[in-house]
Structure formats: C-alpha cells, structure tokens
Subunit: 68 residues, 6 copies
C-alpha cells in the first residue's frame, strides 16, 4: 500500500517494550531515536523484532514545530 | 517549556508554503525531509523562515510503524 | 508498505475538494462516507481522482467511541 | 452533543480488551472491523459492552488515504 | 451522542477564521483561549457563530504535558 | 523550547495513574479537569507528581467542537 502520510522515515528497530495492550517501539533513524506507541497486535502482525528495518510513519498534521 | 512528546528531531527549515489558514513547513532532519502542517499564526508567532534551525515534535501515539 | 494502523477501510473516492494547501477526500466505504483531510501534495502524488479505489487508514488511537 | 468530527460510523461492539489503563474496543461497521484505543474510564463511563450499538468517531484530519 | 473523549471543555466562540477548506474556531474557556482547526463544513453544519456556546473536545491521547 | 501548538493551558496535576506503558495525568485547569494520556517515561523524565504546576498542550488540529 502507498499512503498519503508525508513523513516516512527509514530506520531500524532498537527496542520494543510491550505493555498490557500498548507497545512502545523505538527506531534508530539516522542516529535519532523515534518512539512509536502502537497496539500489541500490530507488533505481532507485522512481526516487529529488534534489529528489523522499519519506517516511522507520521501524518503531517501530527507534526509540530519547536524552536529554542 | 519541556514537553512530554517523545520525538523531538532537530533540523533546519527548507521550505514554508502558506495557505489560507494552514502552512506546510518542511525541515531537513539529517537528510530526511519532515513535513509539518501547522497554523499560519504559529509560523508568524515563532518567526519561522527558511534556513532557521527548528525541531519537528511528534507525540509517540501519532507515530505508526511500516515495513516493506 | 505494510502499516501498523489497525483500521484500513476499502472504498471508492466520490469527491475531492482542493483548498490552498489542504484537500478533503471523500470515500464511499460500504455506503458510509468517510472524509480525509490530507495535503494537496498527497492527492497529486497518489494520483487520487474521483472513482478511484482507495483505503481510509486510521490509527486506533485516533478513533473515539460514541453512543446514543 | 453534536460534534464537528466528519466521520461517525455506526456499528456494534464485537470485542473489548482491557489493559492497565487503555482498552481496545472493536466495532463491526457494515462488516468492516474498526478498532478504537480509548481509556478504561471511557469504557466504564459509557457502559460499553459486547453487542452494544455504538459509533466509531474520527476527525477528518486523522484519516489518511492509501492506494494499492 | 455521548462520546469517549475525556476532555470536553465548555466555552464560548470568540472568533471564526475561514480558509479555503479549513476553519480556525477560537473558544474562550474560563478565560483561556482554545483554538480548534476544523473543516469549513463542520462550521456550517453545526451553525457555529461568534458568541455561541460550544465545547472544545479533545481525546486524551492528543494531550501532551509541558513544564517550565 | 517554544512550540507551534496553539493550546497551552496552565494547570496543576491532581492525579497520575500509571499503567504498564501508558500513564493518565489529570490537570486542574481553572476548575476544569483535563486528562492526558502519555508514556510512563515522560512522567518520569519530566518528574511529574501530584500538586506540580504543568501545562496541557494540544495541537489545534486535535481539537473538535461540540454543541448541545
């Protein structure tokens, strides 16, 4: 599937923390760590494991801008 | 302000497209382009301009994971 | 790409309204109309046009429940 | 209350999975399964149970479009 | 409709700015200004006008916490 | 950091409920209770505790409008 989300950042899974219903998946994207909070089912269904290549996908309306 | 959002990616503004009420701000984050859809007012209030250093800020519950 | 979003609803595009930066795309999903607010660029890049088959994709953390 | 969210899909609850703080509620909407990730409190307060009629409510800015 | 969103803040509309497809609606909530970015259609369909009582509705997964 | 989010509501933390991966933080904002669903890590990293002053931060595209 090709998706309308503007932000698709390639990385590698460095950590997966499973909770009761929600997992936190951490990707290394060019040295920056990106954290995704997704359902446990998604983790299982996509077969996500540490070391696997994956993309962080974010809709542009969910991105804010910060300045120092 | 320090914020709970888990994803704060440092970059540089490479493009700003203003619409009637909504602007698209593009950041170069380590070579990856990140697009934020924010209000025109935020662009003005933060003084965002091309070339300025800025952060893309995303709550972890807004990040999905994709695989090939 | 396979994505972690839990909700991927198959439908057909019935209307596209383009604004200055943001488009509204309406899908008919089994008789229900689903509206997506996405960037104009996504519309162009995915080649979205009226009549085309498409999916409405929603992360489960963005779905609320209502009752009468 | 009448709400601005553009997507209000009528369905029936087919499953509720409660976690420590977050529940996953699955609705059958015309044969498609829609998953909502909401707080346990909402589940209790709305009296959500399997078999009950309910709506999946989604803001249009949270809907993405995918194509094959 | 009763909705699962945890945050329903009562206020009064103080300003509406219409764009090409997206409107910004500002509410005064106990002296604090809350801005909502919603579709023009929602503004029309709900008959939103300056001075009207209304609620700002936010899903708890869309609320971040900041500290000084 | 100064952030583009239009809604920054000052309040005081009145309750924190920790789950397996996700916490619910409740703020009293001028007498209204605002609930944020954030990661346990954010709670720890920001040192959030009951009684502490904090802000509820919400992007305007995540605010809906309701009417009676």
């Amino acid at each position: 599937m090709k998706i309308s989300a503007r932000n698709i950042l390639k990385g590698k899974i460095v950590e997966i923390t499973k909770g009761a219903t929600t997992s936190h998946v951490r990707l290394d994207v060019n040295g920056a760590i990106v954290t995704a909070s997704i359902t446990n089912e998604s983790v299982d269904e996509l077969g996500l494991v540490k070391g696997k290549a994956a993309y962080a996908v974010v809709k542009s309306s969910d991105v804010m801008i910060g300045i120092d």
